[in-house]
Symmetry: D2
Subunit: 345 residues, 4 copies
Amino acid sequence: MSLRVGVLGATGAVGQRLIQLLAPHPDFEIAALTASESSAGKSYREAAKWRIDAPIPDDVAEITVGATTPDDVPDDVDLIFSSLPSSVGAEVEPEFCEDGYVVSSNSSNGRMDEDVPLIIPEVNADHVDLIEVQRDERGWDGALLKNPNCSTITMVPPLGALDEAFDLTNVHVSTLQAVSGAGYDGVTSMEIIDNAIPHIGGEEQKMESESRKLLGTFDGAEVSLHGMDVAASCNRIATLDGHLENVWADAEEDITVEGAEDAMEAATGVDLPSSPERLITVFEEPDRPQPRLDRNIEEGMGVAVGGFRETTAGVQFNCLAHNTMRGAAGASVLNGELLAQRGYI
Amino acid sequence: MSLRVGVLGATGAVGQRLIQLLAPHPDFEIAALTASESSAGKSYREAAKWRIDAPIPDDVAEITVGATTPDDVPDDVDLIFSSLPSSVGAEVEPEFCEDGYVVSSNSSNGRMDEDVPLIIPEVNADHVDLIEVQRDERGWDGALLKNPNCSTITMVPPLGALDEAFDLTNVHVSTLQAVSGAGYDGVTSMEIIDNAIPHIGGEEQKMESESRKLLGTFDGAEVSLHGMDVAASCNRIATLDGHLENVWADAEEDITVEGAEDAMEAATGVDLPSSPERLITVFEEPDRPQPRLDRNIEEGMGVAVGGFRETTAGVQFNCLAHNTMRGAAGASVLNGELLAQRGYI
Amino acid sequence: MSLRVGVLGATGAVGQRLIQLLAPHPDFEIAALTASESSAGKSYREAAKWRIDAPIPDDVAEITVGATTPDDVPDDVDLIFSSLPSSVGAEVEPEFCEDGYVVSSNSSNGRMDEDVPLIIPEVNADHVDLIEVQRDERGWDGALLKNPNCSTITMVPPLGALDEAFDLTNVHVSTLQAVSGAGYDGVTSMEIIDNAIPHIGGEEQKMESESRKLLGTFDGAEVSLHGMDVAASCNRIATLDGHLENVWADAEEDITVEGAEDAMEAATGVDLPSSPERLITVFEEPDRPQPRLDRNIEEGMGVAVGGFRETTAGVQFNCLAHNTMRGAAGASVLNGELLAQRGYI
Amino acid sequence: MSLRVGVLGATGAVGQRLIQLLAPHPDFEIAALTASESSAGKSYREAAKWRIDAPIPDDVAEITVGATTPDDVPDDVDLIFSSLPSSVGAEVEPEFCEDGYVVSSNSSNGRMDEDVPLIIPEVNADHVDLIEVQRDERGWDGALLKNPNCSTITMVPPLGALDEAFDLTNVHVSTLQAVSGAGYDGVTSMEIIDNAIPHIGGEEQKMESESRKLLGTFDGAEVSLHGMDVAASCNRIATLDGHLENVWADAEEDITVEGAEDAMEAATGVDLPSSPERLITVFEEPDRPQPRLDRNIEEGMGVAVGGFRETTAGVQFNCLAHNTMRGAAGASVLNGELLAQRGYI
């Protein structure tokens, strides 16, 4: 099987990671790349200032970049990956869906819309059938499916494992996020050298709402948000890749360190081409996981946890994932694979 | 008035900050410096590899460093500042106290001992009279007084202000701590470039216990710990100075953002030579305070706060203080000034 | 004496340093601030996102920013400081000069023009009279005077001292430049964390030509470039402020380490309000100067040197100066003071 | 063919890279690991605090570490890799050679000894036969062969290519070296964050002498140093891996940019298992090579060059290599492979 895929926003930080993942993909063939008007007409090599520390795939480099409109994407493209600024995504993603394209999107627009599935395949793959509701309501032949924010993706697999075993009630999470999460030009060097920034616009709200949708229940018609209370505090630090998070999870049931670790190690993955062999890796060393040492775990698709301590009402721990791989490009690719597996393409 | 003071552990990162503060001090005159055996007999200039970005005070530079024993400190020294590794402090500080010296110590040993006052003058100056209990019990002419850990000092003034107004019940705190907190050689460059370390040995326990002692009640005989629950998660990041902390404070009473900010701005200082004019500065910009921009507020002796948001059970905010000034050397100097003011010297 | 001064490009990285220097200046009073069209009409507080780790001067903060045209600057302004992008400077600086304003400019446009004095007061203050040639040729009542590039300023005072004593023939220089030299947004965090960039557009050419003009001879009619050969290689590294440079200087005469150090220590300054007490400070420690420890020497207006070694044809050494103070804003202020002292205002 | 190999100093930064390269090596089998006395008796997993961002090889992790003496290494080990502090190397390497072991050493001791071959296989493989002189003089059954310093290795392949084509006369080189070059604990975080250090003890002398030995001539009896003059200036910056160097090369013959690039691209490698496919990669982008983007070129075994400009007497360019791979562990492995190929084992 080989599906023809397109990438919207192919020159950005996440777009480049999408290219890195899609170029050698066994089932997908890159057939269209789009970017902003100023890049349209250029070769990808010219349009993308390639910033990944691995060579640009030679055949992709020669593709001519189009503008981000359905007109610039061939009709025989089966699947679209989208990593656009949310304002652009909000405008053009529906146009693609109306034109019949199935879109796996990393853009933040519309994630909390009632008829838009927000999915981490290992956590809530069953929500994918919300697409049927979406198609009914919007009259689309295509479909729009979202992956959550990179900081949300990092904590939800471990939280999902705890919730299944112990029933979560309250979550506090503090993040130490890498600069790549803001895109290539998002954080200037003068802002972050010898510094940290205790604010990322809208990020706390995303973590607080998206996590409850991901762990919510889909009854075939709608997704009910999980009832837990989530409070997030988000910080930018001087790391290139890898979001590290301190989490306190309170639960109905008592949680021991051993119980928490067991629950996380038992979290099963899914059978998709880009799935990590082990979804959650538990470190016993108290100072792990660390961004530089552990972000590439499972080729960047795993989640690493450690630092467990029992608290009065539950357990605290740290978690880490590669924000542009597991947290963005890899998340979209996984969702694209899920769409294919479930017959939505 | 001019008191003759000595500094134990004068060559370390905090020791150098002590020298920087004491050399121009209006009331204190540096009369003795000690360090490890290998430094004894050298000039301070030679023994201390001076690493502060301001010149070494010339007259101090010529002082001959002694070993860290009472024998190497003149009898007419009135007050001792101590910033020793805790294992050394645990051994030699009592020897100085037995010999009649009054010791204002930044070392972590003994902070939770029942008869040792642990003090931030603006928060619990009244605990200083625990010295009388200490002298009774230990038969000392001298005295031992401690300031808390740098990460504790950063959050307790804001928490104290909230507690007075709203009665705290639960605190979660996540820290982003500067490398200077580990001493000059404490964190290697390979550990921290493009990285963060989610563990600082013993630090979480210190924050959880010291904060409850500082906000506890002294009845003339003993200090009762505050009943709130404190859960801390500590991280090291690539900043030179300034500990940034994300705090969630839950309270008996409802807390509004405005109420929290008012309470903190109303926190009064004390009338000591090194007190900041304003103890707590509230920032309205959501991305402040930041370590590089705000750590020197009030000449490094203030606490900066910002990022207030109401939560289900209270309020969340960020706080920042200069860890080797307000959080260590400046804290010890303030406590020395308090000891002088209260007649313990 | 109090001169009314204006600042063109007041919101940029160098513009903010100009404000920091001019606000407390004994002889200058800030009377006008300009920036790009999008900032015009706003208060300076609003227009400038203040990024210096010292408070914004309150009275300056309330000034309304104008557009960068002579119309938006009062006629009674005596002296203009300019720190504009070179393309903008090339267009508007002549307009100000035609309108009679005297302009001390840090912008790179026109520095090598034959009738434009390029000046470091301690090195070639006599070149200032090239203004008379300029006024003759251009028919201006005003005048345009330039300071060199920040990387040039760092090495030319030491080179000038050597040249006077030993007659330089060849110079090789390699730079390690701070990110602030590119302006606040000039270097992204993803470009520089765990990285260095061995290229700064046009910088090598500036160092190679400007240094020869600065050390050239002015005969009352024109400046003859110095005959030495200068080869520069420029790098950006992850420092906030302070350009560090490795220099090899070959000379006609033999140079010993002692001779080189003596020549530099003997370099005299000038009697201007912002002059450093000591122009060049020689470090004997082989690992100094270092950016973080030594960039603020002489309140950021000194040059630090060290690491001298004799070579086959001369001497090698390292030099350092604060690039936005000594190397830019402070350089322009010094030149403004020179213009006032010499009666050009 | 499988040779049994040992690693002296296996727990250090270069030692860990040796393990990373040797564990999957087609011809070598790790049979002995040594470290300091305090590590002897522990498993490698326990003794080495593994700091590489790839997993520790499981089978190596279980090997028991010995002390660094011939007694702790089995007699049937054929080849020893050594990466010891030079004072230790100077003492124990001769003991191993006397006991009949062939040693490929990265330690800096003895590199300039007249009967010790100093080799980069692609540059001067023919020097390997100096071993026969060495065995004659020292009466060893074993042999000692050295690779040069990491900063020397980075520049010598490009310089060798230029020398062959144009006859070098003078070289100036300025380095921007990564912290891993100093070992895991060699540079503290407080020394290097927001800073650079213009001094690395002994490094300049190593570059100046080793490069002349590598490009010297071996006549079967001795190595004559190359007659060129080399002047080096060495700096430490805040990069993890990858030494970047600015080089000016003057030559007898005229050098054009095109001629220099052609000469470097024509540099041929050697036919050894760890040789890079392409020894020197020429970048046309003026801002390349960069440490983070290009240090892993050819799996860390290539040299990257760029930024060519013609100068009065030759050419200037930048070069980069991975300092602990190409510059240390990989260099020793290559030399070990050369020893095997040439029949010295």
